[in-house]
Structure formats: structure tokens, C-alpha cells
């Protein structure tokens, strides 16, 4: 099976720009290639005129910590993200999402840029990037660099703002105040591990430990519609509230309503409106168990 009319594997961004600037036809950038061949086979993708392997570009594989943000190269593998201790301390939700993507082999190959460009409704990093206000850098075919917030890059089920020859180069995530921000991510699939999300949920909160209050909250769910769904009314429940069992119950009880509103007629609604309560409980547990000592009510007797 031929993958493309033409295949190139540039060793630098400069070589890449040179290669594509005057190129006609449809260009597809390939990095981890975890979906590429499968998508070609099942018809999710049509064969490009030029497939460009970007996995050898050193400029696209990095994790940088700036004063106000982290910058992650588009071709940075999930495994590398998991190995970065500083990033992990900052963004628990990102680590938790990346940790449960596919298998070890997939995480060794798969990249954050690929997760964005593929724009699968069940892409696990997407609700995380939504909650973290990620900004995506895009290098145009003409060599112009532009930046766009994540919710302007991903437009729908496998739809992005990326034009032909547009290459995602990096993702910028604003730093959170480490002392006051907490985040968590949970997902559920058909089986316990190595599974595609049926539903996932991410929450990032600004939490004041001294008063045990949530000052601000961002909550997003994935695998519901084409793009991650911000759960703004669930955020409002959390904001300016003391963290206690009552809050957790209010939050969890509200989540099914959000599913009902998001996918009223969908056949998966009865399941998702129920399962999201489980994800909600788990997310709240991950956010607050350590800080508040609040334990689950459901400990199974040993």
C-alpha cells in the first residue's frame, strides 16, 4: 500500500519550509503515525499528494518552561510529556490525560500536536487544553507564524482551522499559580485500560486552602460532541464555594443535566448522563482528597 504520492522526511524546519513552500497538492504532516495508516485504510483520510514526516525535526520536540507559560513542541511524544516532572507538577490534569492514552507503544509514538491536528472527538488531551486556555502556534505554508486559542483551532469532529500546508509547531499553556491551582482528569471507556474514551472530564480550579474555597473553576468534558464541551453551569456551582460533601454532591448531581442538554436525543445519553457522575466524583476526589482529607463514601469493605 502506498501511503502518499510522495513522501519527505526533512531534518530541519528550514528544510521543511523550503520543501513545501512552492509545492502544489495536498500536504499531510505525519509524526507518530498512530492513526495515519489506519485512517487511510478506513477512509477517514484520503491519500495526500505529499506526506511529510516531521518526527525527525528537533525543533518540534521540546518542553520549555518560560516565566509565564510552558511551551510544548508539537512533535513531543506523550511519553516525553509524562517524563517531565516540572510539567507534571504544574498540570496534573495533563499528565492524567496523557497517562491513559492508548498503550505504552502508542504513547511512545503519539504526540500532542497529533492529538490536536487529528481533532478526534475522543482525543483525551483536548478537554485539558480547553480548560488550560492553550494557545496553538501554526506555521503557514508561506512561512508565516500565527497563534490561535485551542477553541479556534478545533472546530468539530475531525475538523480544524488548519489549511493545506499549515503545521502546528507548538502548544503554549499559561502557567497556573502552583500554590493555588489544582487540576484533575478522568475518563471512561469500554474497558479499564487501553481504551478509547466514551466520556472524559477535566477540571481546573483556583483553590484557596486557608478558607477551603474555590475561587474559580474551568470544567470541560470530551467525547460528547465534536469538540470538548465547557460545562459553565457546573463551573458556577463550584465557584466561590467551600469544599465539602455538599458541594461535591451538588456538582455531581448537576452533571447529568449538562449531558441531557448537550445530547438530548442521542442513543448514548442514558449511559453518559449516569457515567458522568462517576467521572465527577473521581475528579473531585483527585482535586481535593489530599488537601481536605475528604474521602470517598464508597470504600469497598476489605
Amino acid at each position: 500500500m502506498t501511503l502518499a504520492r510522495d513522501i519527505a522526511s526533512p531534518a530541519s524546519l528550514k528544510e521543511l519550509s523550503h520543501l513545501i513552500s512552492n509545492r502544489d497538492g495536498r500536504i499531510l504532516f505525519v509524526c507518530g503515525a498512530t492513526d495515519f495508516i489506519i485512517d487511510l485504510k478506513i477512509g477517514h483520510l484520503s491519500k495526500p499528494d505529499l506526506a511529510v514526516d516531521i518526527s525527525r525535526l528537533p525543533e518540534l520536540s521540546f518542553i520549555e518552561s518560560d516565566t509565564d507559560c510552558f511551551r510544548i513542541g508539537a512533535a513531543t511524544s506523550f511519553t516525553r510529556i509524562l517524563q517531565d516532572a516540572v510539567l507534571g507538577r504544574h498540570f496534573n490534569c495533563l499528565v492524567k490525560a496523557v497517562e491513559v492514552i492508548g498503550s505504552v507503544q502508542i504513547r511512545n509514538r503519539g504526540t500532542i500536536g497529533g492529538n490536536i491536528a487529528t481533532a478526534s472527538p475522543c482525543g483525551d488531551t483536548l478537554p485539558v487544553l480547553w480548560c488550560l486556555d492553550a494557545e496553538v502556534s501554526i506555521l503557514g505554508k508561506d512561512g508565516q507564524l500565527r497563534k490561535a486559542p485551542i477553541d479556534e483551532v478545533i472546530l468539530g469532529d475531525r475538523q480544524t482551522c488548519l489549511g493545506n500546508g499549515d503545521l502546528i509547531t507548538e502548544v503554549k499553556i499559561p502557567k497556573l499559580n502552583n500554590g493555588s491551582h489544582l487540576s484533575a482528569f478522568q475518563k471512561v471507556g469500554r474497558r479499564g485500560v487501553m481504551t478509547i474514551s466514551k466520556l472524559n472530564l477535566c477540571a481546573v480550579v483556583k483553590y484557596d486552602e486557608s478558607s477551603n474555597r474555590i475561587d474559580a473553576a474551568r470544567v470541560a468534558a470530551g467525547s460528547i460532541g465534536g469538540i470538548p464541551l465547557r460545562l459553565t453551569s457546573a463551573e458556577q456551582i463550584l465557584e466561590r464555594r467551600r469544599v465539602d460533601r455538599e458541594l461535591i454532591r451538588d456538582f455531581v448531581d448537576h452533571l447529568p443535566v449538562m449531558i441531557d442538554q448537550a445530547i438530548p436525543g442521542r442513543i448514548s445519553r442514558p449511559y453518559k448522563r449516569h457515567a458522568i457522575k462517576g467521572l465527577g466524583e473521581d475528579v473531585m476526589h483527585d482535586l481535593f482528597a489530599e488537601k481536605t482529607g475528604l474521602q470517598r463514601e464508597d470504600a469497598v469493605p476489605a
Binding site: M1, T2, K41, I42, V188, R190, R191, G192, V193, M194, T195, I196, K198, S268, P270, Y271, H274, A275, K277, G278, L279, E281, R296, E297, D298, A299, V300, P301
Partner: protein
């Protein structure tokens, strides 16, 4: 014993682990062509026209086949004996496609990529016809011809059978309690790592040699001959190394096509399916719906049982009726039930074709009856183990339905030892948790047969020879599907003769050299062919000692053959190796040291198993985690302990999939198989495999080789009902539709909540 019951390493282990074993897909022959199939996108449609012009124009395309240029000879792929009278309704390519995945056309080209590319260029004009996907809907439309073209036979039901003994109605009338259930089991895929593949070679003399990882070379031979209207002797079938089968390669699917393509093109043709093709267009486990009513007296003794079951044969008949027959044959062999009635039907649907699948019929019927017993125990207020112990069969019980004796059936020991080792009583009575996650334990018993005897003709044949190099050579039509048949035969021969296993060569089946054998099916190989090999070995040993007696100038009775050496029982230093003896015999013996043995069994005992499992269910996400499994098996004497344990581990893995995950999941509106890839058809992954403990009740079966019985199929049968029972125990639900997906568990809990509130 020296070799029986040991853990001799599997002979194919190193070649497989090192990647040096050549499977069919690795074979390359001079001038070999590659074929690709075009499969139907519609569940039922008449092919109005096929335009192959664009495909034919692709450079490298050699031939294109469809119903227009292939024989209209109908065959039934389930037969394994020449002239077996099975209703034929399948042909190479049909003018009417009956399910999504049915064969429409094939391209044969110089390489695989070209064949695939060209197949996609074939333009087919279909006229869509009404289709039925649901078993009960198909059943409701009985005796209605559904095919306007009245192509071969396409009416429901395919079969309608009744088995009845005792006085069921009378027993129900005096019942203390009647417990009724409706249980549904899914259509599943075998998931062998090796997809379906075949290589056919048209020979210069007009014959065809077929290399295939099949389960029965003779079935392939007869069906290829039938489909191509050739005499049987024009077809030679050689069993290739197999990358897993589990029943999926029991029926010839690709072989008749591949043989025909090779015959027409006069070149070797390789045909390999991808995973989509293997899932939708080969064979599946028949889905089933069963209604069971069981009558109990107040002590929990089963008075009578009444079962109605429908099996989903899919779009072609294959052995759909036989699967239902196999379901019926288990019913009097696990519990002592004096009054029983079974009515079973098989129906066509416009879905992938059913066929053999590990646990043939047993998996379906045990799901139906063992889930029912859990509910009965609940309503009787009895422990499920106690309830079973009151009713289980005892050694050498007769089969009330008239089948062979259950043999040395030790299921009671399985249950007792298992309950003890699992700490059943304590675990069962532990609190299940009052929060989100609930724990539960469940158990199930199961039985499966040992060969065909009592249902179909049964025989085995083996030729065992002492070679001139002192090695032993067993020629018997064996099909090692990966589970260690070859290794087991080496152990049996070595043990019986007094040789070491590495001296025993066991080539696999080849119709060019072997006598007829039904193949690797019906859990018959270890028990039937193993017994045949043991008897042949003892005969050969007697011959060896007779010749040795000449050399030793003594009576054969005074000689011992052990560790490849013959010596006198009366001492002395003289040792004669088998090699020396072979040389001696070549010069001095009037005949070769070789025996050919034909074996006809006269028994078909049951293999038995009891499984105990613990699960944890998340009542919000509906996910079930299997925490702990204990399996106790009565397979008589295990021939190879490691292989036996491995079989049980694999059976448990498959059973968990059947209970919780695996389903072709046919779309009720479109007939598309939703579980058509490994990302959508999910099996249990290694990280989720629970702790597993395997015990064997080693009580020898007098009719089997060294007291051994079959294990491969029974290993998986009790798992699924045990898990369903554990989930229902954890949740207090009565879920009966497999697999217990998170959606079904959640729906069951929501319904339970609504009932509680009403």
C-alpha cells in the same frame, strides 16, 4: 510416569518466540499471485451488474472473479466427511449477497497492493432487498420465503429439534418453585492473531495443493473438491502452522476460492484477509436466545427443566443446526434432571455466518442455564454452591437423553475443592459495599464432550514407525492450532514406547500421506487421537521387543525398553539402543518395525469444570473488573501440566471477553457490524487480566490416554456465566444479556432504582 503430567516445553515455542516459524502468509512461491476480496456493503441485495473494466485496466491485474465467471455449485462448509448430507447453500460468489461482508468479487494480481487497489475500483450495482438482523424477528418470520429469487434454501427455521425425556409437565405441576429466565448471548469473533489465509498451488498434472492453517485437511479437501466439481483425489491439503484458530478455521472459507483462482490462473495464489475480513466474512460464534424454566422442590432438587433456544446461524446455514444440537446434548450431563424438555431452532439472519467456536454450543447453553441457577438459588434462599451440590451428576451416571455415559465425572469434587480453595462461603457472605463500587462473587459449572462418539462418526488412525536412525515417526492427521497437540503426542508416544520425547517426530496433517481423520474439532484430539497414539505405541513397543528378543536371545517379556534403550530384566551389561535395534531389524527381522492402527472409540465422557470469580462493579460508570478467578477442572490426567494451565488461562481470558466485552454488535438498522475492528471489537487486555488460580482434580478417565480427557473447550465455558452471576450478586440485579457492557449494567441499575422507587 516419566513424561505424562510433566511440563515438557511446547515444541513450537522457540520458533514462534524467535520469529523463525514460517506461517502461510510468510510463504513465497515463484510466480505467486495475490487475491483480494470485495465484500458486500449491503445486508441483503441482488447484484444487478458488476463493472470490472476499471479494475481490469490496472497494470498487474491478472483476473477478476465474481458470480458471473465462477461455478454455481452449492456447498456447505461445515461438513468434514465426504458425502455428508448437509444442506448446501453457499457458493464461491453469489448473485445475491446476504450480509454485510458477503463475497461479491475478487481480484487476482501480481501483488497484494495492486489487488487491493483494483478491488476498490470494481463498480457494483445493487438492488437492495429486505433484511432481518434480530434472531427473534427472524424466528417470527418462520416458513416465509424471504428470497424473491428463491436461491437455494433460505427459509426459517433452518432446523427445529426436540429432545424430551421423563414427564416434564407433570414435574412442573408439583414444583415448589419455578424460576424462569431469558438469556441472550452475542455473536463473537475468535480473535486469532493470524487472520484467515490460504495458499493454493495449481500443479502441472491438474491437481491442486492447498496450504492452509486449517483444523481439518480432509474437510478442506472434500469442500474444495465439491465447490470446484473435481474428484477428491485432485486436491491435496497440507496443514500449515497456525497462529490461533479457536474454531474460526474449522470450516473452509478461503480455500475453495483460492483453489479456484489458482486453477484458472495456473499460478500459485495467496489470499489473506485483514482483520475486518476475518471478523465479518469468515465464521463467528452463533448468537443465541434462550428461555429456560426450571422447577425445584423445596429442598432445591431440580424436578424438571424446560428450555427453548434459538441459534443465529447468520446468512448461510453452515452448521447452525449442529450448534443447537450440541446445546441440547449437554443438558442431561451436568445435573441429575429426571424430566427435561428442550426445543431448539436455528435461524437465518442477514448477519455474519456462524460456525465453530471454542465451546461449541456449550458456551451458549451454559450461559442460559447457569445464570438461571444463580437466580434460583437466590429465590430458594440457598447458597449457589449448595444448590449445585444437591443436583450435580456423579461418576458413571447415564445420560438420560440416551447419550454415552458421563464417565468418571468428578464435577462434585471440582465444586467442593473450588469452594474451599476460593473461601467461597466467606466471600459470598461478605458485605457487598454500600457505596459506589460493589463487590460480588459468582460461580458456575460446565461440561463439554470428548469427541464425536454418540453424535457423529468417530475414528482415528496412526502409523507409528521406528526409523533407521532410532527415532520414532508418528504419521497421523494432526492439526496443532497452537495449543500443543504435537508436544502432547510426543509425550504419549515417548511414555508408551519408552523413548524420550525428542526422539519422536510428529509431522502434521497432509492428505497426501495421512489416513482420514475428522480434524481438530469437538475436543477430540487429545482424548481420541491421543488414545489411538497410545495404543499404536504399545503395539510398536511389543514389536520392538519381539525383534530385540532375537538379539538378546531371550523372551520379549524378559526385556525392558526405557530411555531409548533395551536391556534384560535379568541384569547383565548389555544395552541396545533403538538405533542399534533398528539396524539389527533391517538386517534380521522379517518385517519392518511399524504399526498402523485404526481406532474406534466407544465412549464420550464429559470433561468438567467449576469456576469461581470475584468482581467489582462501578455502579456509576458501569465498568466491571474481574478481581480474582479460581478454575477447577476435571480433565482426568493432565498430559502436560503447563499447557493445561495455559489452556485454562486462555479460556478464562476468552470467557471474560464473552461476559463483559466481546460482541460483533450488529447495527439493528443497517446490519453493519459495529465491532468490525480491534478498536471496536475489544478483548480483555493483559493489564486487566485478574489473578488466576488453576486446579486439576486428577482422577483418571479409564477410556482416555493415560486417563486424560479434553480441556481446550471446557476451559472457557463456565467463565462467562460465573462472571454474570458475580455481577448480579454484587448488584442484586438479574442481568441476562451478554456481554454486560457498561451501558447494560447502568441500564439495569437505573431500572432497578426505578422499581425500588415505584
Amino acid at each position: 510416569m516419566t513424561y505424562i503430567g510433566t511440563s515438557l516445553p511446547i515444541s513450537s515455542g522457540t520458533p514462534k518466540a524467535s520469529g523463525s516459524l514460517a506461517y502461510t502468509g510468510d510463504m513465497k512461491l515463484d510466480r505467486m499471485l495475490h487475491a483480494k476480496l470485495l465484500l458486500s456493503p449491503h445486508p441483503h441485495a441482488k447484484i444487478k451488474s458488476i463493472d470490472t473494466a476499471k479494475a481490469a485496466a490496472v497494470p498487474g491485474v491478472i483476473a477478476i472473479f465474481s458470480h458471473e465467471n465462477t461455478p454455481a455449485t452449492y456447498y456447505n462448509s461445515a461438513l468434514w466427511i465426504a458425502e455428508q448430507d448437509f444442506v448446501p447453500d453457499e457458493r464461491l460468489f453469489s448473485p445475491v449477497v446476504r450480509f454485510v461482508g458477503d463475497r461479491v468479487a475478487a481480484v487476482v494480481a501480481a501483488d497484494e497492493a495492486t489487488a487491493e487497489h483494483a478491488a476498490a475500483l470494481i463498480e457494483v450495482d445493487y438492488e437492495e432487498l429486505p433484511a432481518v438482523f434480530d434472531i427473534e424477528e427472524a424466528f417470527a418470520a418462520r416458513n416465509v420465503s424471504r428470497d424473491p429469487e428463491t436461491l437455494p434454501i433460505y427459509e426459517n427455521p433452518i432446523s427445529d429439534m426436540t429432545v424430551e425425556y421423563g414427564n416434564t409437565d407433570e414435574a412442573f405441576a408439583r414444583a415448589h418453585l419455578v424460576v424462569e429466565d431469558r438469556v441472550k448471548t452475542p455473536k463473537t469473533h475468535h480473535c486469532a492473531i493470524e487472520n484467515h489465509v490460504c495458499l493454493a498451488v495449481a500443479e502441472r498434472d491438474g491437481s491442486i495443493t492447498v496450504h492452509t492453517p486449517c483444523q481439518s485437511v480432509f474437510a478442506v479437501k472434500f469442500i474444495v473438491a465439491k465447490a470446484l466439481s473435481l474428484p477428491d483425489d485432485r486436491i491435496r491439503v497440507i496443514k500449515a502452522p497456525t497462529g490461533g484458530s479457536f474454531g474460526g478455521k474449522s470450516e473452509p472459507v478461503l480455500e475453495p476460492l483460492c483453489a479456484f483462482f489458482s486453477r484458472v490462473t495456473k499460478r500459485p495464489v495467496m489470499l489473506q484477509l485483514d482483520r475486518y475480513g476475518s471478523i465479518v466474512s469468515t465464521r463467528t460464534r452463533n448468537a443465541a436466545v434462550g428461555r429456560v424454566k426450571t422447577a425445584f422442590d423445596k429442598d432445591g432438587k431440580i424436578l424438571a427443566r424446560d428450555i427453548q433456544a434459538i441459534g443465529d446461524a447468520g446468512a448461510y446455514r453452515s452448521g447452525g443446526n449442529m450448534v443447537v444440537g450440541a446445546m441440547a446434548r449437554r443438558l442431561g450431563r451436568l445435573y441429575k434432571i429426571g424430566n427435561q424438555r428442550f426445543r431448539g431452532w436455528s435461524v437465518y439472519t442477514n448477519t455474519p455466518i456462524g460456525g465453530a467456536y471454542r465451546g461449541y454450543g456449550s458456551s451458549q447453553i451454559h450461559a442460559i442455564t447457569e445464570i438461571n441457577l444463580e437466580h434460583a438459588a437466590r429465590r430458594l434462599g440457598m447458597d449457589p454452591v449448595e444448590l449445585r451440590l444437591k443436583n450435580l451428576v456423579e461418576p458413571f451416571d447415564d445420560d438420560p437423553a440416551g447419550g454415552p455415559s458421563v464417565g468418571n465425572a468428578r464435577i462434585i469434587e471440582c465444586v467442593k475443592e473450588g469452594a474451599e480453595a476460593f473461601d467461597w462461603k466467606n466471600k459470598r457472605n461478605r458485605p457487598r459495599g454500600d457505596g459506589r463500587r460493589k463487590r460480588g462473587v459468582g460461580m458456575s459449572c460446565a461440561t463439554h464432550g470428548n469427541g464425536h462418539f454418540g453424535a457423529y462418526p468417530e475414528n482415528a488412525a496412526a502409523t507409528l514407525s521406528l526409523r533407521d536412525d532410532g527415532g520414532l515417526h508418528l504419521v497421523s492427521p494432526l492439526h496443532d492450532l497452537g495449543c500443543g497437540t504435537v508436544t502432547i503426542m510426543r509425550q504419549i508416544v515417548a511414555e508408551a514406547v519408552g523413548a524420550s520425547p525428542e526422539m519422536v517426530a510428529v509431522p502434521e496433517a497432509d492428505t497426501g500421506t495421512c489416513a482420514f481423520d475428522p480434524g481438530s474439532r469437538a475436543s477430540r484430539v487429545t482424548y481420541i487421537v491421543g488414545e489411538c497414539a497410545q495404543e499404536a505405541s504399545l503395539m510398536l513397543k511389543a514389536k520392538i521387543l519381539e525383534v530385540a528378543a532375537l538379539a538378546f536371545n531371550s523372551s520379549p517379556d524378559d526385556l525392558t525398553l526405557k530411555d531409548n534403550q533395551i536391556r534384560s530384566n535379568y541384569g547383565g551389561d548389555r544395552r541396545m539402543s533403538l538405533r542399534e535395534l533398528a539396524g539389527f531389524a533391517r538386517q534380521r527381522s522379517p518385517e519392518d518395525i511399524s504399526v498402523t492402527h485404526h481406532f474406534k472409540p466407544r465412549a464420550n465422557p464429559g470433561s468438567y469444570a467449576a469456576c469461581f470469580v470475584e468482581v467489582e462493579v462501578d455502579t456509576l460508570t458501569g465498568l466491571t473488573r474481574v478481581m480474582d478467578v479460581l478454575a477447577v477442572h476435571d480433565i482426568g490426567q493432565p498430559i502436560n501440566l503447563t499447557l493445561a494451565e495455559g489452556q485454562v488461562h486462555g479460556g478464562i481470558h476468552m470467557g471474560i471477553g464473552y461476559a463483559l466485552l466481546e460482541d460483533l454488535d450488529i447495527d439493528p438498522d443497517t446490519g453493519q457490524t459495529k465491532g468490525n475492528s480491534l478498536s471496536r471489537y475489544q478483548v480483555l487486555n493483559a493489564p486487566e487480566m485478574p489473578r488466576v488460580q488453576v486446579l486439576f482434580v486428577e482422577s483418571k478417565e479409564t477410556t482416555g490416554p493415560y486417563g486424560g480427557k479434553a480441556l481446550g473447550e471446557v476451559a472457557t465455558v463456565p467463565m462467562a456465566p460465573a462472571i454474570v452471576n458475580a455481577v448480579n450478586h454484587a448488584l442484586g440485579t438479574e442481568l441476562t444479556e451478554l456481554p454486560l457492557t457498561p451501558e447494560r449494567v447502568v441500564a439495569g441499575l437505573v431500572e432497578q432504582d426505578e422499581l425500588d422507587q415505584a
